[in-house]
């Protein structure tokens, strides 16, 4: 299954992946209109320290700890993608505590949120991959 992979050799820490992710989560056609005066809450986040930067998003693990920890069954695997059923989620935040990558976070709409490979978003194929200016983020299968 294709997943999003980041190569820290090319990550410039420009944070544009975060903005393209946030934009894909809206239904707007124009980024300026979509994100004007908004504090974004993207599903991919840059972490940076000592000159190394790296974008972190859900790894869609083969053995997902978040799914195991979910008390409601809101987190499941569908066609390989670990997905959140927002109606079932009660924001107990167990998944946030479980995820070793810190890839799940609260959202403004009540339920938790994380990268779902843009299967539900306006973008179609992952927006962060398309938006990275330096080819640091790729969408590929890695056995």
């Amino acid at each position: 299954m294709k997943k999003v992979y980041v190569n820290e050799k090319w990550c410039l820490g420009c944070h544009l992946c975060e903005y393209y992710c946030a934009f894909a989560g809206t239904n707007e056609k124009d980024m300026a209109r979509a994100l004007k005066d908004i504090k974004i809450n993207p599903r991919i986040r840059i972490e940076e320290k000592d000159g190394v930067s790296f974008a972190v998003s859900c790894r869609h693990c083969d053995e997902p700890l978040c799914v195991k920890g979910c008390i409601t069954g809101a987190l499941t695997r569908k066609d390989g993608v670990i997905t959140i059923n927002k109606d079932k989620c009660v924001s107990c935040y167990t998944c946030i505590l479980c995820c070793p990558f810190g890839a799940i976070a609260p959202s403004e709409q009540g339920a938790v949120q994380k990268c779902e490979l843009c299967v539900k978003s306006a973008a179609g194929t992952p927006a962060c991959v398309k938006g990275c200016p330096n080819g640091a983020i790729v969408f590929e299968e890695r056995g």
């Binding site: 090319w10 410039l12 420009c14 903005y19 934009f23 980024m31 300026a32 994100l35 330096n134 640091a136």
Partner: protein, 510 residues
């Protein structure tokens, strides 16, 4: 050599910023990408106002922020703060006096001559076939863009039994008449070199190491590499000479004829120092003459030393700047045993050169090429060498015109860097290239991903190859060989008698 005695009291701003950053606040989403990507710290985010602001005085107009802004909220405009109009004392001329009055230093510039001298390529037009002789459709008929660079034998030799003897000296084989010109490792980054090397390999052409030596990681691209021996002899050792497909002796460079080069010690660190074989922190000074070449005989000696060192397996190129007596110089070189002469016109680019030398010394490549080609033909020695020309080849049309004026091949550099992202801001000498090209700062070098860069180079040259075929087909020609020196395919417009005579072409309508 560069003596700076600052006489610039803070109270008087003699130099108003040339360029201003204009931000459309309706479109700006304060994503801070511009702030993060500007090496000159022009942009800043004010958290308490949730607003982006900028300091125009630091902007060099590299367009990095404009290109990377996801909502196209930025543009760079020329300031409309103007001095009183004066056709003689232009704003530029006035500002340069202010700068020198302030610093006491020699003005430095990067990239090629931007001054308003005639561009002869833009005054030459190409022929097309019609009615009397048919054009050729490049999509349906074979079109040969392949060229071979090297000395051509005077005559066919046969052995005692009448079979042809192979008396062909070593040649370079190229898939199209274009090569990447010399840009040293040190003036440009490792990633830029990797992009050039990989593109040259994929395209079947050559790239040139420049005078910085060859990094060991790039020896694997050896058969697409021209190794340069410049006056400083940086990085020159036997493995280096044998690793490339050809060796180029750099006698001069179009951007700075008559003077040498100077890479400041601050840039001589790590890999650059190792590859050049000089200690870290020392200035890399290439002297003006090669201190072992003071006559044409000395040049011949060096040519043959290099051939000896490489067992006569590699062609030797001699690169000269286009200056006033370029044809006489070329004639001497053609007799010296060199296989290829490379001529660099006055528009050629550079990492850093004194502004006055770059802008006022040298002659246009079109005129130099035409006169060298004619002179060598007249002397019957045109076949001793192939001619490669550079110094602002900007498009496939320039290439076709250059070949028609007599060139076997062209060298490109500025256009290659543009493909990699360069925006000709001309601040290479500061070492803060925002596109990761003319810098050694690892944070900035990262920005040029060779996986993306080399593809752009391949795209550019592939497009040019198709265009060359289209133009040739239009002329009814199906190979570069038939285009070479074919001045009948060219006509001039806006040229006077003398220019037409030197170029050897007729006026349009004749």
């Amino acid at each position: 050599m560069f003596d700076f005695t600052e006489v610039n009291p803070m109270a008087i701003n003699f130099l108003y910023p040339n360029y201003e950053v204009e931000r459309n606040y309706d479109r700006c989403i304060s994503c801070r990408a511009c702030e993060r990507q500007c090496a000159n710290e022009v942009h800043e985010y004010l958290p308490d106002q949730n607003k982006m602001v900028c300091d125009d005085s630091k902007c060099v107009n590299c367009q990095r922020c404009v290109s990377i802004c996801p909502t196209r909220a930025l543009k760079i405009v020329k300031t409309n703060n103007t001095y009183k109009e004066n056709a003689n004392w232009t704003g530029k001329a006035i500002n340069e006096v202010y700068r020198q009055a302030g610093s006491g230093g020699v003005l430095l510039s990067s990239m090629g001559n931007p001054e308003n001298y005639p561009v002869y390529f833009d005054k030459i037009l190409l022929n097309a076939s019609q009615v009397t002789n048919p054009s050729i459709d490049p999509l349906r008929e074979p079109m040969e863009t392949k060229v071979f660079l090297g000395a051509k034998p005077k005559a066919i030799e046969r052995d005692a039994r009448g079979r042809i003897v192979n008396n062909l000296p070593p040649h370079l084989s190229l898939s199209m008449p274009v090569m990447f010109s010399a840009m040293s490792f040190g003036s440009i980054s490792y990633n830029a070199h990797e992009s050039l090397a990989r593109a040259a390999e994929e395209l079947g052409i050559m790239y040139n190491t420049g005078e910085g030596g060859l990094h060991e990681d790039f020896y694997r691209y050896g058969k697409n590499t021209i190794v340069q021996v410049a006056s400083g002899r940086f990085g020159v050792h036997p493995d280096y000479l044998n690793s490339g497909a050809a060796i180029e002796i750099k006698m001069g460079q179009g951007a700075k004829p008559g003077i040498g080069g100077h890479l400041p010690g601050a840039k001589i660190i790590g890999d650059v120092s190792r590859t050049r074989m000089i200690p870290e922190g020392t200035d890399a000074i290439s002297p003006a003459p090669h201190h072992d070449i003071y006559s044409i005989e000395d040049l011949r000696q060096l040519v043959y030393s290099l051939k000896e060192a490489t067992e006569y397996k590699k062609p030797v190129i001699v690169k000269i700047a286009a200056v006033h007596n370029v044809s006489a110089i070329a004639s001497g070189i053609a007799r010296s045993g060199a296989d290829i002469i490379a001529i660099d016109g006055f528009r050629g680019g550079t990492g850093a050169a004194p502004t006055r030398i770059r802008d006022h010394v040298g002659i246009p490549i079109e005129l130099a090429l035409a006169s060298v080609d004619r002179r060598l033909r007249e002397e019957g020695i045109r076949d001793n060498v192939s001619l490669v020309v550079g110094g602002s080849i900007r498009s496939s049309a320039d290439i076709v015109k250059a070949v028609a004026l007599g060139a076997d091949c062209v060298y490109i550099a500025t256009s290659a860097l543009l493909a990699l992202g360069c925006h000709l801001c001309g601040s290479c000498h500061t070492g803060k290239c925002n596109w990761g090209i003319a810098t050694q700062n690892p944070e900035l070098v990262k920005r040029l991903n060779p996986n993306l860069g080399y593809k752009r180079l391949v795209n550019l040259l592939t497009a040019w190859k198709h265009e060359i075929k289209e133009m040739m087909g239009g002329m009814g020609i199906n190979s570069i060989e038939s285009l070479k020196g074919n001045r009948l395919m060219l006509r001039g417009v806006g040229l006077n008698e003398k220019e037409l005579e030197i170029l050897g072409i007729k006026y349009a309508g004749e």
